[in-house]
């Protein structure tokens, strides 16, 4: 199995995106990580541990699932890839497991990471507890206040939770805090990337670990006799998006659609559509598309789906969009909420608001297609974490 780096034009670069824009002290740490991952990936023993945990701990493989009633009339069939049916953090667990195993293999006794929606935190805390690694998680105050069950779960898994009161008090500030922590402790502590974001080799490592989604989906679609016209995924950190797309990127006939958060949708209001409206910049370690003003200051982002509200994008995805292989769509808060609610009531499946964006986009795409065509929607996690936003008691 090649790593996702084989898709990169040069090591650490996807087209002109990517690289290692970090404090120089981190360069040797990244170099060691790069080598260690390559060695681990070539080692059947690592794959054995990884696959065992992917099955026992994460709950893979996850099924695909065709909706029945949720489908506009005379529109395409909608098939969900159900990573909501994984444990402890949705698809984030895919990469947390691999990175924690790698940390153990490298002789590190601790991991640190950041979390926005709480899922990467829960995933990493659970795996770290399981592998006996110390674990520190940073989370912005605003996110923590909105996701109190996640906060408690992280603490129950024995992790140290650092609540970040700085900057946007959300994911971006948490990431900065986690990287600072790592900089000070890189001899003993691995940084666990929640997304294929940041300096090389993180985008490659995470995309390689998440590629399991695309491999499974591809086989399952073949098994079901379905040839998809389009695959849609909402882009937060991009881990599920690249995970899914990686299985289909070499089929030029299949459309790959990255769905971004449009926020409230009101003119001028903040959003998180950086693949569509962002500019080339350098953020959190990589050259990529970012939402920034003309002085390079990051713009505030907003979305009802906390996991989508991030100003940077995965360099690999930035390259796929710039090169035209991936197209983008923007879905606003209201459309996503409505899609999640209708799917729950109509199918008994509760997906997260992030996936709601992809679902709403799939309805739009599906209306342009014939009823026998198939569109696949990535469901990165369950909607349990969003219940308070989805249903307010009167």
């Amino acid at each position: 199995m090649p790593t996702a780096a084989s898709l990169a034009i040069s090591a650490g670069r996807f087209g002109t995106f990517g690289g290692q824009f970090v404090a120089p002290v981190l360069l040797p740490v990244l170099d060691r990580l790069d080598e260690a991952f390559a060695a681990a990936w070539a080692d059947p023993a690592f794959h054995f541990d990884l696959e065992t945990l992917m099955h026992r701990f994460v709950g893979r493989p996850t099924p695909i699932f065709e909706t029945r009633s949720f489908r506009p009339e005379k529109a395409a069939r909608i098939v969900l890839k159900r990573d909501d049916l994984t444990f402890n953090g949705g698809n984030y667990a895919n990469s947390a497991v691999g990175q924690c195993l790698l940390a153990r293999r490298m002789g590190l006794g601790a991991v640190v990471t950041d979390t926005g929606s709480g899922e990467n935190g829960v995933a990493t805390a659970a795996v770290a507890a399981h592998l006996g690694l110390r674990c520190t998680i940073y989370m912005g105050r605003k996110d923590a206040d909105q996701q109190s069950p996640m906060v408690r779960k992280i603490r129950l898994f024995g992790a140290d939770l650092g609540i970040v009161e700085e900057a946007d008090r959300a994911l971006s500030a948490a990431t900065s805090a986690a990287i600072r922590h790592w900089m000070g402790n890189s001899a003993t502590t691995a940084y666990v990337a929640g997304a294929p974001i940041g300096a090389h080799p993180f985008p490659t490592i995470v995309a390689t670990l998440q590629a399991v989604i695309g491999r499974e989906t591809r086989l399952q679609l073949i098994d079901a006799g379905m040839h998809p016209t389009a695959l849609l995924s909402a882009v937060g950190g991009g881990s599920s998006t690249l995970g899914l797309f990686s299985g289909f990127v070499d089929d030029p006939g299949i459309q790959l659609i990255a769905v971004e958060a449009g926020g409230s949708g009101e003119p001028g209001a903040p959003h998180a559509a950086r693949l569509r409206f962002g500019r080339r910049g350098i953020f959190h370690g990589a050259e990529t598309l970012v939402l920034a003003d003309d002085q390079g200051q990051l713009l505030p982002t907003a979305s009802i789906a906390p996991g989508l509200s991030y100003p940077g994008s995965p360099p690999q995805l930035a390259n796929m969009v710039t090169s035209g292989r991936v197209t983008t769509m923007t879905i606003n808060d209201h459309e996503a909420l409505s899609a999640v609610r209708r799917l729950a009531a109509g199918e008994g499946v509760l997906v997260c608001l992030e996936a709601g964006h992809a679902l709403a986009a799939a309805e739009k795409v599906g209306r342009q297609l014939s009823p026998d065509s198939v569109v696949v929607v990535m469901v990165s996690a369950s909607g349990d974490k969003d219940i308070d936003r989805l249903w307010q008691e009167e």
């Binding site: 120089p24 600072r180 402790n185 001899a187 350098i282 959190h284």
Partner: protein, 283 residues
């Protein structure tokens, strides 16, 4: 357009020539442009020079100063609130140059504002503003080719950063656009963190000298005049940021205003200056 021509092709090199002749070490500080306002910042730059600072690192404010500790994060936020950004920082340097054409000014900050402005445009404007070099915390040399080329075209240099764990290939690079001095960071971790031991500093400086012919300045975690004196005894210069900014923060929070405030700032800077100039008697 009034653009005071630099006294020498490079003010940084000139500074080291002068200091070496005087048998002294360089004293460098860091301040965020427009913290707390553009005018206060301009006054502070001149104050620094008159209090004995040799080179100024002028931070261009950034919304996400990922490598910095709490003190400098706060300074960034104050500067942003006052309208600070990369362009205003260039404006500040240009204003400074009206009355000071010799003190070297090195910009310090993060990669994104440079990338968004464009390296060529940035280098052109920076040269025009009288900037001498650039330190970008998240811009290692292995990524810097396009930036170095632009800097070189406009007579600016990037200051390489060295750390004990770094391979020489990551800092001791002889390439157009690299120069000024070697920024030796003897500790890991963000700014404002713990200090390195004297031994560690000595070793770090020695390693730098082994691999590079650039002057070596030590920064990150220099907290007291005594420590600065120790560093000065082995390096070509000492960089003090967080410790002085913390002191200025405290002064701003006090009752002191006007000349009383200026005097206090000067006293703080001079305490370091005198320690650095003092013959070293060991720790």
């Amino acid at each position: 357009m009034e653009n005071p021509a630099p006294a020498l092709p490079n003010r940084i090199d000139a500074m080291f020539v002068r200091l070496r002749a005087e048998g002294r070490k360089a004293f460098v500080t860091y301040t965020v442009a427009a913290d707390p306002t553009f005018d206060a910042s301009l006054a502070m730059l001149h104050e620094f020079v008159s209090a004995g600072i040799d080179l100024i690192e002028l931070g261009y404010p950034f919304s996400d100063p990922i490598l910095d500790g709490a003190t400098i994060q706060k300074a960034n936020r104050r500067a942003l609130a006052a309208g600070g950004n990369l362009q205003r920082t260039l404006d500040l340097c240009k204003a400074f140059r009206r009355h000071d054409s010799t003190t070297p000014v090195v910009l310090m900050g993060y990669a994104n504002p440079l990338a968004v402005m464009g390296y060529e445009r940035f280098a052109e404007r920076a040269a025009d503003a009288g900037v001498d070099g650039i330190i970008a915390g998240d811009f290692p040399i292995r990524e810097a080719s396009p930036l170095l080329a632009a800097l070189d075209r406009h007579g600016l240099v990037m200051i390489p950063m060295a750390a004990p764990s770094l391979s020489p290939a990551d800092y001791a690079v002889d390439k157009p656009g690299i120069g000024g001095f070697l920024y030796c960071i003897p500790v890991v971790g963000p700014t404002g963190g713990p200090s390195a031991s004297t031994d560690a500093i000595v070793q770090a400086v020695e390693r730098c000298r082994q691999h590079s012919r650039l002057p070596v300045m030590v920064g990150f975690g220099v907290k007291t005049p005594d420590m600065a004196a120790g560093v000065a005894s082995v390096a070509d210069g000492v960089i003090v940021a967080t410790a002085l900014i913390d002191q200025f923060d405290r002064l701003r929070a006090s009752e002191l205003r006007g000349t009383a405030f200026d005097d206090a700032v000067r006293a703080n800077v001079q305490a370091f200056r005198q320690a650095i100039d003092r013959p070293w008697r060991g720790a």
